[in-house]
């Protein structure tokens, strides 16, 4: 399989690898995928309680190069956005940016799921109503 230059770049230089303190109220954690399926993403955000801006994002991914690139890109994109802005990121945006082939679309879906799961976790911790997002998070 030929990878796009952007996938190779994220694979070679993954952005924002690491972990945040799961127990902190400011941190939301999303763990999506399954080892049996060959990909697991953990995406974490630290949200400023005043501004609701995502100030820090970290990820770790078990998966193919496209999965690593999708989650790396996701952390890059959500940093500096408010949580609501971050929820506007669609998997198709990731597909386009990384030029993912059809067989790798699920990697982008997983990255979108990871963003939603992390934000959902943060909202739950902080008692933020998430009427708008609850349905989509649960659906997958």
């Amino acid at each position: 399989m030929a990878y796009s230059d952007k996938v190779i770049d994220h694979y070679n230089n993954p952005r924002n690898v690491g972990q945040l303190d799961k127990s902190s109220a400011e941190v939301g954690t999303g763990l999506v995928g399954a080892p049996e399926c060959g990909d697991v993403m953990r995406l974490q955000i630290r949200v400023n309680p005043e501004t609701q801006v995502i100030e820090e994002a970290k990820f770790k991914t078990f998966g193919c190069g496209s999965a690593i690139a999708s989650s790396s890109l996701a952390t890059e994109w959500i940093k500096g956005r408010t949580v609501d802005d971050a929820l506007a990121i669609k998997n198709t945006d990731i597909v386009k940016e990384l030029s993912l082939p059809p067989v790798k679309i699920h990697c982008s879906v997983l990255a979108e799921d990871a963003i939603r799961a992390a934000i959902g976790d943060w909202k739950k911790k902080n008692g933020v109503a998430e009427a708008a997002t609850a349905a989509t998070t649960a659906a997958h």
């Binding site: 990878y3 190779i8 694979y11 070679n12 230089n13 993954p14 952005r15 690898v17 972990q19 763990l31 999506v32 995928g33 399954a34 080892p35 049996e36 399926c37 060959g38 990909d39 697991v40 993403m41 953990r42 770790k60 991914t61 078990f62 998966g63 193919c64 190069g65 999965a67 690593i68 067989v103 699920h106 879906v109 997983l110 799921d113 997958h140």
Partner: protein, 417 residues
Amino acid sequence: MSTVTSNIEVPAGVKLPIYMDNHATSPLDPRVLEAMMPYFTEKFGNAASRNHSFGWEAEQAVELAREQIAKLIGATAKEIIFTSGATESNNLAIKGIAEMYRERGNHIITQVTEHKAVLDTCKRLEKHGYRVTYLPVKADGLIDLEDLKRAIDDKTILVSIMAANNEIGVLQPIREIGKLCHEKGVIFHTDAVQAVGKVPVNVIADNIDVLSLSGHKIYGPKGVGALYVRRRNPRVQIAAQIDGGGHERGMRSGTLNVPGIVGLGKACEIAREEMDSEAAYLRGLRDRLKAKLESELDYVQVNGSWEHRLPGNLNMSFVYVEGESLLMGINDVAVSSGSACTSATLEPSYVLKALGLGDDVAHSSIRFGLGRFNTQAEVDYVAAKVIDIVKHLRQLSPLYEMVQEGIDLTKIQWAAH
């Protein structure tokens, strides 16, 4: 920011990319090419032309190749049928026997880790009224002879069990299988594509009735293979699957691929002469690779029996690292992975799953296929590179981190997707 690109030094004399996927195919030995060359140009005759020297010359070359192949497996030249490769050989053997012995019975026994050329052939026969038993394998990849014994019934006409597996390299107990088949009066076919020329295979000692082999796995050309069909004790008959000019004693029509056949013959001759020393050499390289990987990495495991294995095969899982991402990191080394992401079906290797390995371990597997032209310097480079990339990818792996923290991954409710 961590970086995954490794900066492992390339040792002197090592040319990139390194080919270490010799179960998929092997490079043509220059000695084989040399033998083949005249048969493309000046010696272009049709081996079936009986009335001029061009034909005689070609026929003579084909008969020499038949001898060379027969000698490697302990057969006689008359028992060798040329085909286009092992897929055709397997099809011809299984379908041809099924058709020929239909009145005696309709039951065929094979096993779950066979190559698709055997499994899909059997599946097709099931649609035509045949009954097929797919024996399971044990955790080491070998079949249980007791299972085979129990599976044979009065309708069984054929047992088809491979000699060596193409993914995990494990060697089935073909001698015992053949003995059992002969005791029960059942024909024994073996797909010996990976075994012939690598480990001793003798159709007499190993009780083999029909055997498939291929040129390009033994440093010969692609597009040529052979089928051994026993002529006595018992005489095996095979119904032709390709009709035409009645070549190959009517079992396989079609003008012979003379240059390919010459190459296959030469490849067999070289294999016979060099098998012992080559096996020792490959075993040394393979063991060195394994030792290096195991000394530097935790959570690695060899898949399949270590004892009953091809000398050049190492199939290893680097748990908590996904296979395709590992291949991407070692992109100057040609190996294979059992990961779903590398397969056309998006399913992890059915061979590894048959051993009872979890999908997650199958996703993490790499098959190293060492061959005649690999060197120790290459092995050292590959080992260093794999170690480096696995370590980097584990820094990226949430699973590795969780395991380090003592979390039991099996207790987590993973969201399936």
